[in-house]
Symmetry: D2
Subunit: 354 residues, 4 copies
């Protein structure tokens, strides 16, 4: 059976490069086109490659960067497109592609809050995928599915089993976010070297808003969850991996060991379906006193294809009725490109790419 | 009038060096002796100096390091001693010194929770100073006064006016703590370069426990405050300055502007008494979107002698009934040596050094 | 006697801010105007201030940023202008200002190699100042004087006494250059965090070319020095301070102690004239095994006004006939704004500002 | 054919861990024992694992750490031992092991300069291996072979083809050395964060001395090479990978392209023999303006088993008769454990392990 031809939109950016690294030898998808902004067209992705941990495959390195237009998608019979576009331009391009029948899996924030666009994490809200059928583009077979913001994705994974089993409404979280989350060139080195910047534009609002949608229930549209995520977001001099410090008041006290069990035994639809990029265990609980750490836990997730797709939890403490823990996830894999690849695998399994 | 002769105990450590930098041209105190661990005795502090922002004064550079014993204190007629000793050894040495009449102002945690030892921040709980009169050593004129842990000191300053005016009980806080807080050699560079370590031994417990004491009320001993500080503590690759992300549920909604006003108009006993090292404004509120930052706000505080003594607050947000903000303070000045120097100035003003 | 009114051109950049910090309470000069690129005009320098070690003086903070045009210079009777402009635009603006009689002291590279423009370091080539009299603008009293590139300035200071006393022609040097040398926003944090970038555009050529001019002899124009500086330039994740590793083959062997003596006893015209910003000792030799270090030796130089104006040398080793050492200097003070301020003080002392 | 049983001495250190990562699935060798200092005996290597890029294999993770004594080697029929021991203790332990017939491949400096001990880089001086036959221990089949210091190994690779083809005697080099080179805990973070330390104990002498031996000719013992390596060594805040800036005066001018060709076409005995850990190309020349960089070129080398075994060269410039370039190599792979593994593969191929 031949593979599904896909395009990567915005292929030279941090997220675009991650898309390429995850798709270049994928069992279901094959890269048919790499599209980028006008001034890079004609060049090779090789000149922009910054992922020191993954070499660019020769067959992709030899592809020419193409313009961001529908003709390119048509010419290469693209069935699905993965969008790592900046949100300012993603809105129109993604919708246009969907209208001509392309299944768009996007990391951009442009359509995340559209009522008919799923903000999908297959482990958390798989049933939201059905929303795509309400999109006008669906008549042509096209649609847009988004993955959530990098900071909330990593938090949504442990929140799901907690919210399902415990009585809680407020989640206080502070983030230690990596440089790669700001794109490239992103944060000037003079701003962040030996420093912390306690501000990431729009991030805290996104975390609250998107959590309400992801955890919301589906009836006629999505009913927002009552959970409130109160975030303080900061940038630190770490290359990859968002660490988050979480503090949650509970209605009833519960032993830390029970919370650890809830988290580490959590499995979602992605695991049940054994999607190629799904980690066997979406939430890994570590017992060491000083974990998770960006450097050590960044690539958590097995099997090999799922490296960087698991969230790592550590330091679960319950004192009186407050539970605290740290969670780490890879912001451009689980919280970015990997999230959308998993979404596409899930949509494919459900027959939406046929 | 001649100055009060003082000693610095543990003069070569990170806190000890800060003590020296603050005392070497102090209007009230003069350094009579520098004491350090046995193997450094006879040498000069110069060989250990790591404070790139303050040159060591020649008259101190020429002093010989002395052993940590009572004979040294007696020989130099030391009235007060500032202790930057490691907590493991501070307990006995400080109490012994107090017993022979020395007023000990300590940054060590050894005696912080002793019922009769003030855990003093002159802006927050000046009346606690009176506790010293209950110490057995006080018959000789000696006593021990401690300053709180570096992380809670910076937070206690803004908490004080909030707790006095608003109805709140839970304070969720995540810290971004500087390397200097771990002493020297402290954190190995391989552990922290391009990384975050989500664990600082004992820190979270200290923050909760000490906040309850500092904010507690004095009657027959100290009645712990009902305020609970729920901390997640992490180390980041910043040289100096602890940043903290704070999230507080309130019983009633209140505009962010009002909170800003409460904080920036706050003045304590240290300001009323115009103590030499007291900042004119103990809590500075910044309006910029991306402050406070360790690099830029570390040395907040005026006049010159009070640099590093003010806490800087930024990004005050109130959404529904949750207030969030960031606070930064200098961990080895306000949260360390400067805190104890201010305590000593306050005790001196109150006549306890006569 | 009233002070000389001066302007800072490009006041918001890294070098511009240093100019302001050095001139805001200068004994001879007073800031009459701050000029910047069009889109910042009307604003205050305060919004751009990034010098964490020097507070912006209130009387300068309240000045409005003005456009970069001659009218502004005339309106404020500006006698001298300090240029921290990007080299692309500095060329024309500086020459235009000189033509209307302004004495321009520039950090830009645009005119450094012009035959009639001094590339001045008062300790090294004070007699080159006379070149200004050959400039066409000099008929109006105006001229342009430049300070050398940041990397070669720090090296020229120790080279001068060595070249004068020893027989040498080749200087092999590798640099460890600070982030502030690249301006702002400058180096992206993703490029440099936990990394080294072994390339700085044009820097190595500048070092060779400018060394030949600075060390050249003046007759009818400047005869380039035979000294060859062979540089390998790299950027490291240090905020300020260029460290350089130097290796020089000598014709004859000489003890390291003699070299140390040559360097530490070196005094130039700036010292003889006791210029306000001149360090008592332009080259400081440290005996410790692990110096100079950017963090510890950055601000070397006394008295207070000359902080950051001395080069610090360490680890002088002579094996057979090769001498090696490290040298550190502040790239935006000695190697930038401070260099031009010293040049202006020297020109003023010589009567060129009357 | 069964694999050769080997031991790793000092298995928990930075180099020891690299040995394990390279040997845990090696085609020729199998780990029979992990030995460490007394206080870690009985524990598992898992607790010390810091290599974020390689997971510890389960069969090694389950091994118990054993004491550093001959009984352990005998009990496991160890044929070869890889030593990542600190040099202070390596001297005796290694020689004792050799005396009982163990082939020791050591990264320690203790025996590097012993006249009968090869300081081996199979691409550079394969014939030196024969020296082992002169060691007293060889009667029992045992011997000691060392790999050179991490800084000189990376430089020796490009020097070999240059020295063979060009007329040169002096090599001026400055290093930018990674934190992992100092072991663990190694460099305190307060010393190196946003700083450079221009001193690494003994390193510069080792570079000169060891280069003379590696490049020396073998007759009756080793005749030191006339090449002088004049090094300035510094530590930078990079996790892995030593970058070196090289400047070499040549007797005759030669185009940069020719040097690039000499380097990239260089193949040594390791390549001829197709040793498992030998990179296809020991010296990779990159054409980009800003390479090599630690982050991007650290793991250079193909095939997969040889990742981190190639030196990467960039920025080759020839001006007049001076050639300059940068070279990068992985300090704990090519310059450490990988070097000794390659040596063992080479000795095995030559029949010394039979």
């Amino acid at each position: 059976m031949s593979k599904v031809p896909v395009a990567v939109l915005g292929a030279t950016g941090n997220i675009g490069q991650r898309f390429v690294s995850l798709l270049q030898d994928h069992p279901t998808f094959e890269i048919a086109a790499l599209a980028s902004s006008e001034r890079k067209v004609g060049g090779s992705l090789k000149a922009f490659w910054r992922l020191d941990d993954v070499p660019l495959a020769p067959h992709v390195a030899s592809m020419e960067l193409q313009p961001l237009d529908l003709g390119v998608l048509r010419k290469h019979d693209v069935v699905a497109a993965f969008s790592g576009l900046p949100s300012e331009i993603a809105g129109d391009i993604e919708m246009d592609a969907a209208r001509v029948g392309v299944r768009v899996f996007s990391n951009a924030s442009a359509h995340r809050m559209d009522p008919d666009v799923p903000l999908l994490v297959p482990e958390v809200n798989p049933n939201h995928l059905r929303l795509v059928e309400r999109q006008p583009a669906f008549r042509e077979g096209g649609f847009v599915v988004t993955n959530p913001n990098c900071s909330i994705t990593g938090l949504a994974l442990p929140l799901k089993p907690l919210v399902d089993s415990l009585d809680l409404t407020d989640v206080h979280v502070a983030t230690y976010q990596a440089l790669s989350g700001a794109g490239y060139p992103g944060v000037p080195s003079l701003d962040i070297t030996a420093n912390v910047i306690p501000f990431i534009e729009g991030e805290e609002e996104k975390m609250r808003r998107e959590a309400k949608k992801i955890l919301g229930s589906l009836s006629d549209g999505i009913l927002p969850s009552p959970i409130d995520v109160w975030a303080n977001c900061a940038r630190v001099a770490v290359r990859d991996g968002h660490l988050e410090a979480v503090s949650i008041p509970l209605k009833d006290e519960i032993p830390a060991g029970e919370i650890a069990h809830l988290l580490s035994s959590f499995r979602g639809e992605a695991q049940v379906q054994q999607l190629p990029t799904a980690p066997n265990q979406p939430v890994i609980v570590r017992a060491e006193a000083n974990r998770p750490q960006p450097l050590l836990d960044l690539m958590a997730g097995e099997p090999a294809r799922a490296r960087g797709m698991a969230a790592t939890i550590g330091r679960i403490r319950v004192v009186e009725r407050v539970v605290r823990f740290f969670v780490l996830s890879h912001n451009t894999i689980r919280g970015g490109a990997g999230g959308s690849v998993l979404n596409a695998e899930f949509a494919h399994r459900r027959g939406y790419l046929d």
